[in-house]
Structure formats: structure tokens, C-alpha cells
């Protein structure tokens, strides 16, 4: 599974989000390749999932990749809850 974490410039906050998403996935026992990038790159990069913040949703409106929106990039409980919800919908988690 390939996951992109996305912010405006693809520098600091998407990398922070990547680190926390990786920690949450490890705790959930899921394997994924997580990459941090900016909106333009994310829209032309094939992936299974995009994780980003509310301020980026409109920039990413033309992508077909499913998007999970997280408000607090360092809150593992929030990240886990939103990811679990998505994975359950996709049938990856029971």
C-alpha cells in the first residue's frame, strides 16, 4: 500500500505527518510505504491514499485518490481513528 502525506510546500508539515502516520500504522500492524510531498506532486503520483489537512482539500480536488483529512498532524489518536474508518470502508480492516 502506498500512502502520500501532503501539505502546501511538501516540506515540514507533510514530513511530520508522515512520521506520525508511520507510527500509527506500525501500532495498527499495517505495512505501507509513506511519502511526504506537496499538492502538485501528489496529484500526479499514483497512490492508494492521501492523508492531508483541511487547508489542502480544495487544492487536491481533482485527484481520484481517496483522501483522509486530519486536523492535528501530531495527534496519533485522531490519525488512528480516521485511518481505521477509511480502512474499514475499504475492507482492509474488519
Amino acid at each position: 500500500m502506498k500512502i502520500l502525506t501532503v501539505c502546501g510546500a511538501g516540506q515540514g508539515s507533510s514530513l511530520i505527518l508522515r512520521i506520525y502516520v508511520e507510527e500509527v500504522l506500525r501500532a495498527m500492524g499495517l505495512k505501507a510505504q509513506v511519502e511526504a510531498m506537496d499538492g502538485s506532486w501528489a496529484m500526479s503520483t499514483p497512490a492508494d491514499l492521501i492523508v492531508t489537512g483541511p487547508h489542502m482539500v480544495k487544492v487536491l480536488s481533482s485527484t481520484k485518490t481517496p483522501i483522509v483529512v486530519v486536523k492535528n498532524f501530531v495527534n496519533k489518536a485522531e490519525i488512528r481513528e480516521k485511518l481505521e474508518e477509511h480502512f474499514k470502508q475499504k475492507g482492509i480492516l474488519p
Binding site: A9, I16, H55, M56, V74
Partner: protein, 428 residues
């Protein structure tokens, strides 16, 4: 013994003075310590070194465009002075890239030590700004003193360690207000501007009148794309300056005969493209280093608070971010014209700063002053950044003034300027 010394000397002469290889080596060691599989170790170290070289390519492209604006503005406003050039970033990175990388690493260790021993439990994790702040401090010290080698690296590392521990502390009052918790801190070089925006916001409005209750037309959301934003604004700046300088003069002296509108548009997009390359390179070279830093920090300072990039805070107030961003951008363009007409300063609006600082001051202003605070925050952010450019550029005129033309944020300008002014007095 002799053989070991010869090997060490060879490493110092051939590897440690090559920043790309040095950073690759740091990633290599970090990945081995994390017991990553062989494939990941190879990929991570090579991408770190490659990212560094990609960044340099982007710098060359973006800075070249930023510097084309200066002569046009000079002509438009009748300012006689030549733009500051110095050594320039390309050459400076070759000369000092290795000390910059080394100081960044030791600065991080000092940040860890201070977080462990003092009540300031902040660990700075904004990787790209760790690189740039290290770069800037080395540029200031080498421009204003005779320090080099180990003393240069140690002084830089100590200053960085102090800055990375204390900057999150001085913005925490407002940062906590934005996120509604005390778990994260701001780790961003717009901090002085954000602090001012938060403080002044309280005088101009009320947090209850939050910008988040407003609706901003969705058709402006495309401006949040950095390539689009920086291309458009750079084209606009070149177009305004060319009209003021006289299209005929510009076509004769700057564009080599190319129509000035086509020139402005093409150069604008070139700038956006250069910036995209630069950011992609930085992204690659911090992608392995920062997670390794965080791993170390988690072990050594378990109760630390991460100090993270400005946009993490934008999520808590996306409309305020847009207000700050537009208000700062407009103010910066007005300042460019006002400072030019009064012949005080040839202001080159640094696009990435309008983006990074603009959004952050909007969110900080809104936390204390609602939508009025967000707008005033943008104005204050522009004033502090522009005045800071006037302060810092003459100080680093000998080394990399071009760095500030395309990316000088408030803390670079003011802390860097202050350091340079002190070093000049000390005559080290």
C-alpha cells in the same frame, strides 16, 4: 596507526567536505542504527545525497529569476545602487555546505540536551528550516568575522541549539491558543512575525469574531498551490516593474529583445519551476534525517513537545491562513512600490516567505483578534519581513544576499542581523 591517520585525513579531505556525501553518510548511519533493511538503507542514503544536489539545481534557477527583478526595479525608481551579489548561493554552498550540515547535526544535539535539562521541553523538527537557519548563521558569521573551521561550527551549533529550544517557547502562548492544547509548539522561522501578529491581534479585534466564521470564495483556493502562487506573483512583480521602468528599456537591456509581457510570464513560471525543484530536493534530503532525529529525541527526551512547521497550525484555521496570506502579499507589493518611490530600498518580495509567513501570521492574528487580527497579522508580517530584509542584506552582502532575496523570514532577518551586528562590533 599511520594508516588510520592517513585514512581519516583522506575521509576529511574527500568525503566530509562534500555536503552531499556527508549528508548521505549521516542518513546511512542513521538507517543502519534503525536496523532498516538493506534496500531501504541504500535508497535512503542515495536519495539524501541526490536530494541535496537537486536542491542546488533549483536554487540556481529560482535565484536567477529573483535577481532579474532588481535591475528593473532600480531603473523604475531611479535608484543608482547595484544589487548586492556577494559570493552567491551556488558557490557558497560548495564552500560551506559541509560546515552547515555538521553544525545542524550538533545544533540538534544541543537542542536535545537543553530540552532534557531545562524546563523548555521543545524539540525542533522542521527539517528544511533547520538546514536554512544553519546555512544563514554560517553565512552571517563568515560575512562578519574571521571565524572558520571548528570554532565556526561550534558557535553556529550553540546558537542553533539555543534558537531551536527557545523559539518554540516564545510563541507557545499563542500556539497553544490555536491548537487548544499544549502538546505541540511552533517550529518556524516566521516566529517573531507570528509573535507580533498574536500580540497586536489582541488590540484590534476579538477572538470571538473568528475568520473561520467567514466564507472565502472557493475560486481563490488554487492560490494555495505553491508553484501557481509563486509563478503568478513573480510574473506580476516583473510586469509591474517593467511597466514602471518602461517596456522599451526592459526589452533593450534585460530581456534581450523578448516582449516584456512574454518575458514576465516565462520568468514567473521559471521561478515557480525552480522553487518546485528546490523544494523537491530539500524534501528528499530531509526525508530520512528528520525521522531519525525524532527517533533519537523520543528515546532521550520522552516528555518532549515537538516544535513543528507553520502549516501544521493552518489546519486549525484555514480561512485565517488565506486572509493572512493575501493581506501579507498585498502589503509586500505596496511596500515594494513605496520603498522604491521613496528610494529607500529595492525590495524583492520573497515568494516562499509570503506563503510560509503569510499563512502563519494569519492564524496567529486570528487566535487573538479574529478576522481583523488575521488581516493585521499579514500587514505586520510584511512590515517586519521587509524591514528585516533592509537590516540583514547589508550585513551578509559579502556572502549570500541572494538567499534573503528569495527566502528571508522574520527570524532569519532579525536574529541573523543582530548576530552580524554584534560580531562586527567584536571584530573576531
Amino acid at each position: 596507526m599511520e594508516a588510520i591517520r592517513a585514512l581519516a585525513q583522506w575521509l576529511i579531505d574527500n568525503i566530509f567536505n562534500q555536503p552531499a556525501l556527508l549528508l548521505g553518510l549521516v542518513a546511512f548511519v542513521g538507517l543502519i542504527l534503525q536496523r532498516k533493511p538493506f534496500g531501504e538503507i541504500m535508497m535512503g542514503s542515495l536519495k539524501t545525497a541526490g536530494g541535496f544536489l537537486i536542491m542546488n539545481t533549483g536554487v540556481n534557477t529560482a535565484v536567477a529569476v529573483a535577481l532579474k527583478l532588481a535591475p528593473i526595479l532600480n531603473k523604475a525608481f531611479g535608484v543608482a545602487s547595484e544589487p548586492y551579489v556577494g559570493i552567491g548561493m551556488t558557490k557558497f554552498t560548495e564552500m560551506y555546505g559541509a560546515p552547515v550540515a555538521t553544525a545542524m547535526f550538533f545544533g540538534f544535539l544541543i537542542n536535545l540536551l537543553l530540552a532534557r535539562l531545562t524546563p523548555f521541553k521543545y524539540i525542533y523538527l522542521t527539517g528544511h528550516l533547520m538546514w536554512w537557519m544553519s546555512y544563514l548563521i554560517i553565512a552571517v558569521i563568515t560575512a562578519t568575522s574571521g571565524l572558520s573551521g571548528a570554532p565556526l561550527i561550534m558557535l553556529t551549533a550553540v546558537l542553533l541549539g539555543l534558537y531551536w529550544t527557545l523559539q518554540p517557547a516564545y510563541t507557545q502562548k499563542y500556539a497553544a491558543k490555536i491548537t487548544g492544547s499544549n502538546d505541540i509548539a511552533l517550529g518556524h522561522t516566521s516566529a517573531l512575525a507570528a509573535l507580533a501578529a498574536g500580540w497586536i491581534g489582541g488590540f484590534v479585534g476579538k477572538p470571538e469574531d473568528s475568520a473561520e466564521k467567514l466564507e472565502i470564495p472557493e475560486r481563490w483556493a488554487f492560490m494555495k498551490d505553491l508553484l501557481v502562487f509563486s509563478s503568478l506573483l513573480n510574473a506580476a512583480a516583473l510586469l509591474i516593474a517593467s511597466l514602471a521602468a518602461g517596456p522599451a528599456w526592459v526589452q533593450k537591456n534585460v530581456t534581450g529583445g523578448q516582449n516584456f509581457v512574454v518575458f514576465a510570464l516565462l520568468q514567473g513560471i521559471t521561478y515557480g519551476a525552480g522553487l518546485t525543484i528546490l523544494l523537491a530536493g530539500v524534501r528528499m534530503f530531509i526525508a530520512e534525517i528528520i525521522p531519525a532525529f525524532k527517533g533519537i529525541a523520543d528515546k532521550l527526551v520522552p516528555n518532549a513537545k515537538p516544535a513543528v512547521d507553520g502549516p501544521v497550525f493552518w489546519n486549525f484555521a484555514p480561512t485565517s491562513m488565506l486572509l493572512g496570506f493575501f493581506s501579507m502579499t498585498i502589503t509586500m507589493f505596496v511596500l515594494m512600490i513605496v520603498l522604491g518611490v521613496t528610494k529607500l530600498w529595492v525590495l524583492i518580495p520573497p515568494m516562499i516567505v509570503l506563503f510560509g509567513t503569510g499563512g502563519t501570521v494569519g492564524v496567529f492574528g486570528n487566535a487573538t483578534g479574529g478576522w481583523k487580527g488575521a488581516i493585521i497579522g499579514g500587514i505586520v508580517g510584511a512590515l517586519i519581513t521587509a524591514a528585516g530584509q533592509m537590516f540583514l542584506i547589508p550585513i551578509i552582502a559579502k556572502t549570500v544576499p541572494d538567499l534573503v532575496y528569495f527566502a528571508g523570514e522574520a527570524d532569519w532577518n532579525w536574529w541573523g542581523g543582530l548576530l552580524g551586528a554584534i560580531l562586527r562590533l567584536l571584530r573576531l
